[in-house]
């Protein structure tokens, strides 16, 4: 006998583990115990086998591996003594699972025990089978279990019924065998047996359509009668739970009626009386009574239409909603979620109460209620609902703001009746919970503002007011700074005043103040501060009186340790200092982003599909292709990677804004290439960092590198390569000869996209006269080798632009 295992009893081991002060100590104790148990196992020690297994179960509960004890379970189960068997079965349920092959070995012992005369042994075996039965075991042992459904002792009948549930779930084919036994179980008078019989019936109906039909025909009336008996039964102290006789049986009966009545008018009709009785007569002061009412409501909701009952049910839920007990309110919300599919109108009546639940102290209730409110919103009630939610946003606790903000934004985007309302609501959300707003949401807001030409003045003024009050909401600052940069003149001059607005007096220097405060705020994100620099650059041209001051602010960042800020500062400083003549054109207002395109892209990026097939590339309009190539340049010149306005369908225009230093009016231009050209018209100004970057194509080598780096940093996949050369070509073709395309008007000459000894790809461009924004690209592939190409795949990588 092993000296260790004889020593410690289970109790001693638990005591030793409890005495451990640290996790390391605990591990040491358990290691020692496991070692001695292993030793005992290898010695085939019998005396302490069941004690060791009990120890292992405790160790297992604490989360340590115990697989080495699995065989011990089987040995104990096969043992003749009851104590050994009991521990063996417990171990079997805890330590093993149905996927293990060891389990096959236990089938025979189970079979023997199921045929025992002693009810407790049979009970143990049934319990184990019900917990861990596998499909194979189910097939082998189903006949035994079926027999036990008629065992003399009711306890065994109960267990056999539940065990059958496991069997039919594992092997649905066996369902047929259990249909007849269930019919007799349903006639039982014993509470427990009836309860489990009903449960088995419910599960049979779920797995087998025929069984459902059979029970519906044969048993609906019987079950309705049983429910009547239970409801009207005299007091049974044994099954009493807080004054209600056997609530669980009520619930099980209602549950099975729910399945039988679903989709069947006759069955539903048959049970409507008793449902009405339960719904009206049940005592609702105690939890048990409410549980029955709750189940009854669920049944009424899923059986076939009966207007009167539905009203009753929704009213019960209404009562639940105003109950003081949190649990009751929680389940009411749960049920209303389901009821909304059946009768949305009735649920709407309780909107006010539900809205109160959004403000509940309890996080579970708040969450449910918010989900429900989200389902309740429609065009007609969005305004009052939103007012409530936004008001609540002010006082809600931090943990809940994220959820709440996301839902509000989603509702506003989905249901806004007009743009001004949309902008108003978004501003409120940004001021209250700007830090919880997702990037895509405020990007969409910017898109809406750029598109609403009559609301830009209003927006910038509202943003200015909002930012005076809440200065710590980062996304609000971003949107405000962006709008002030773009529409600063509208802010100062009260342009496009709406009737509802109060005029405000903002001086040019006030507007610059806002941006200056933001850029000096070190708690803000780098992107925000970089956006401030751009806004300043734009303002320097819009507010000539502040030009000097802005120059000074920008110059402060020349020495910034943050590369992004430093670079922008140096570049912008030189634009302000040395290029007065081009500045105003350079900081033109951003071109309007096409909302449809933006939303489309947003949806696409949501599905995370960046298609790389040729089909995709060739189907895209020019704008998108242009974006492919232009985006990195743009980013380098002007924008941070997550700038609010990525170049969109008008990618060409965009480049023009940045590069076209000559043309006074950007709107006359729709062509990337013309824009590029115009950049070359004046003599390039050496020494300016901006121009240096544009001049990439004067020298072949560095441009390839620079662009390669750019494109690979933009393209997440490893397919950056095609983009690099292509971009280079795009610039290259025109670099040496700036005059030609100007003469040839708004057409592109063909581009050699790729050339090797085996393959040439040439892109031909053509404009559609009816839609100058669109460019058709025709790709021509020439096989220069002698081989035949099969399965030829052309992939074009499109840099993902953060939108």
């Amino acid at each position: 006998m092993n000296p260790f295992s004889s020593g410690t009893r289970l109790r001693d081991m638990i005591r030793a583990i409890r005495a451990c002060k640290t996790a390391a100590e605990e591990r040491a104790v358990i290691r020692k115990e496991c070692a001695s148990i292993r030793a005992a196992i290898s010695d085939n020690d019998q005396t302490f086998r069941h004690r060791n297994l009990a120890k292992l179960m405790f160790i297992h509960m604490l989360g340590y591996p115990t697989h080495f004890g699995q065989m011990e379970c089987l040995k104990l189960i096969a043992a003749p003594g009851f104590a050994e068997k009991r521990i063996g079965y417990l171990g079997l349920m805890l330590l093993l699972d149905e996927r293990q092959e060891v389990l096959m070995l236990v089938t025979n012992s189970l079979k023997q025990d199921l045929n025992q005369n002693n009810q407790h042994i049979v009970g143990l075996a049934l319990c184990a089978l019900g917990n861990i039965c596998s499909a194979d075991m189910a097939r082998d042992l189903a006949p035994e279990v079926e027999k036990l459904l008629q065992f003399r002792d009711p306890n065994i009948r109960k267990k056999a019924a539940l065990c059958s549930i496991r069997i039919i779930k594992k092997v649905p084919d066996l369902a047929d065998n259990f249909v007849d036994p269930v019919v007799s179980l349903l006639k039982e008078k014993h509470h427990g047996v009836l309860l489990t019989g009903i449960q088995l019936c419910t599960d049979l109906c779920k797995v087998n359509e025929e069984a459902l039909e059979y029970f519906r025909k044969k048993c609906t009336e019987g079950l309705v009668r049983s429910l009547k008996d239970v409801v009207n039964s005299p007091y049974v102290p044994e099954y009493d739970i807080s004054g209600i006789a056997d609530p669980f049986l009520h619930i099980r009966l209602l549950r099975v009626l729910r399945i039988l009545g679903h989709g069947d008018a006759d069955a539903s009709d048959c049970m409507s009386d008793i449902l009405a009785q339960v719904a009206t007569k049940t005592e609702s002061h105690k939890n048990a009574g409410n549980a029955i009412l709750y189940e009854c409501v669920g049944t009424i909701m899923s059986v076939e239409d009966n207007g009167g009952l539905r009203v009753l049910a929704i009213n019960i839920l209404g009562r639940f909603l105003s109950n003081r007990d949190n649990n009751i309110r929680y389940v009411a919300l749960n049920m209303l979620m389901k009821a909304i599919a059946v009768d949305a109108q009735a649920v709407q009546r309780h909107r006010a109460t539900i809205l109160e639940c959004v403000k509940d102290l309890d996080a579970s209730i708040r969450k449910r209620a918010l989900e429900l409110v989200y389902l309740l919103v429609n065009e007609s009630n969005v305004k009052p609902l939103m007012k409530e939610l936004v008001d609540y946003l002010e006082v809600s606790d931090q943990g809940f703001k994220g959820d709440l903000t996301a839902k509000i934004c989603s509702i506003v985007e989905k249901f806004s009746p007009d743009k001004i309302w949309y902008i108003d609501q978004m501003l409120k959300v940004l001021s209250e919970a700007g830090n919880f707003v997702k990037a895509s949401v405020w990007h969409a807001l910017v898109v809406v503002i750029t598109n609403a030409s009559n609301l830009q003045g209003y927006s910038v003024r509202s943003l200015y007011r909002a930012i005076q009050i809440s200065r710590d909401q980062e996304t609000l600052i971003r949107v405000a700074v962006w709008c002030i940069g773009e529409y600063g003149d509208m802010l100062v001059n009260n342009i496009e005043m709406l009737d509802i607005e109060e005029p405000i007096t903002v001086t040019e220097s006030d507007a610059v103040d806002v941006v200056e405060i933001a850029i000096k705020n070190h708690s803000l994100n780098l992107t925000t501060r970089a956006m401030c620099l751009i806004a300043l650059l734009k303002l320097s041209s819009r507010f000539p009186s502040c030009s000097q001051r802005i120059k000074e602010i920008i110059a402060q960042y020349k020495g910034s340790l943050l590369l992004e800020l430093q670079q922008r500062s140096v570049e912008f400083n030189s634009i302000i200092g040395k290029h007065k003549n081009i500045r105003s054109a350079l900081v033109e207002r951003m071109p309007v982003l096409d909302e449809a395109t933006y939303n489309g892209r947003r949806a696409r990026s949501a599905s995370a599909a960046v298609s790389t097939s040729l089909e995709f590339a060739s189907n895209l309009s020019n704008g998108v292709i242009a974006r492919t190539d232009v985006a990195p340049l743009v980013d380098l010149l002007d924008m941070g990677a997550d700038e609010p306005v990525p170049p969109c369908s008008s990618g060409g225009n965009f480049l023009l804004d940045l590069i076209d230093v000559d043309m006074p009016s950007s709107s006359s231009q729709s062509d990337v290439l013309l824009d590029l050209l115009s950049a070359w018209s004046p003599p390039p100004q050496k020494g300016s960092p901006t121009t240096d970057i544009i001049l990439l194509n004067q020298d072949d080598k560095p441009s390839v590198n620079a662009l390669d780096i750019l494109s690979s940093s933009m393209v997440p996949s490893g397919e950056a390569k095609p983009t690099g050369p292509y971009m280079m070509d795009l610039l290259d073709v025109f670099g040496p000869n700036p005059a030609t395309p100007e003469e040839s008007g708004p057409t592109f000459p063909p581009i050699v996209a790729y050339e090797s000894s085996a393959l040439t790809i040439i892109f031909n461009f053509s404009k559609r006269p009816e839609n100058p924004q669109m460019t058709d690209i025709e790709a021509m592939f020439t096989n220069k080798s002698s081989d035949v190409y099969t399965d030829f795949v052309f992939q074009a990588a499109v840099p993902k632009v953060n939108a």
Binding site: H120, G192, F248
Partner: protein, 166 residues
């Protein structure tokens, strides 16, 4: 069906762990830890329900109840009635109380396999067998008696079933 029953103390130490769908040991511990994290952060006087979708799949709920230093936790899916599960927990605790006469945490720690036996008389394979605590106590007593009198099986099998059948 009921997916799991867990009893843990207010320090997060598991005292009874029973999963009705197999979970590897590591996963079990992870679940216990995450549940403890959620329960700790809940205020008093709030509802007893928590969504458990993240660990157990859609439409699963967790209901908990505190008794002295112990959390009783049941995880179940939408085929169970939430409020009835609350009653079930009450039955479980009442039964423990009857079996151990004034149950406390230590009783459960040192007699965890008896607690398992009690639980197995209430829930089988995730389904409720019995809601009457007196019935459960009767069954558990029968098992205990048999364990202490091992010879009775061989000698008087009929008498035992007769004894139980009263």
């Amino acid at each position: 069906m009921i997916r799991a029953v867990i009893v843990m103390n207010d320090q997060g130490k598991p005292r009874l762990v029973k999963f009705y769908e197999h979970q590897p040991v590591e996963k079990q511990q992870e679940i216990i830890r995450s549940i403890y994290g959620v329960l700790c952060s809940r205020a008093e006087n709030v509802s007893n329900f928590v969504q458990a979708d993240s660990t157990f799949g859609p439409d699963t709920r967790l209901v908990y109840k505190t008794f002295a230093t112990l959390y009783f936790i049941v995880i179940f899916d939408d085929s169970e009635n939430e409020l009835a599960i609350l009653d079930l927990m009450q039955v479980f605790v009442e039964t423990l109380d009857k079996c151990f006469s004034n149950v406390c945490e230590l009783d459960i720690v040192f007699n965890f396999n008896k607690v398992h036996t009690i639980l197995d008389e209430i829930i089988l394979g995730g389904q409720v067998i019995e809601m009457s605590s007196s019935e459960v106590v009767k069954a558990v007593d029968g098992i205990s008696w048999l364990e202490k009198n091992p010879n009775s099986i061989i000698r008087v099998p009929k008498s035992i079933s007769g004894w139980q059948g009263r």
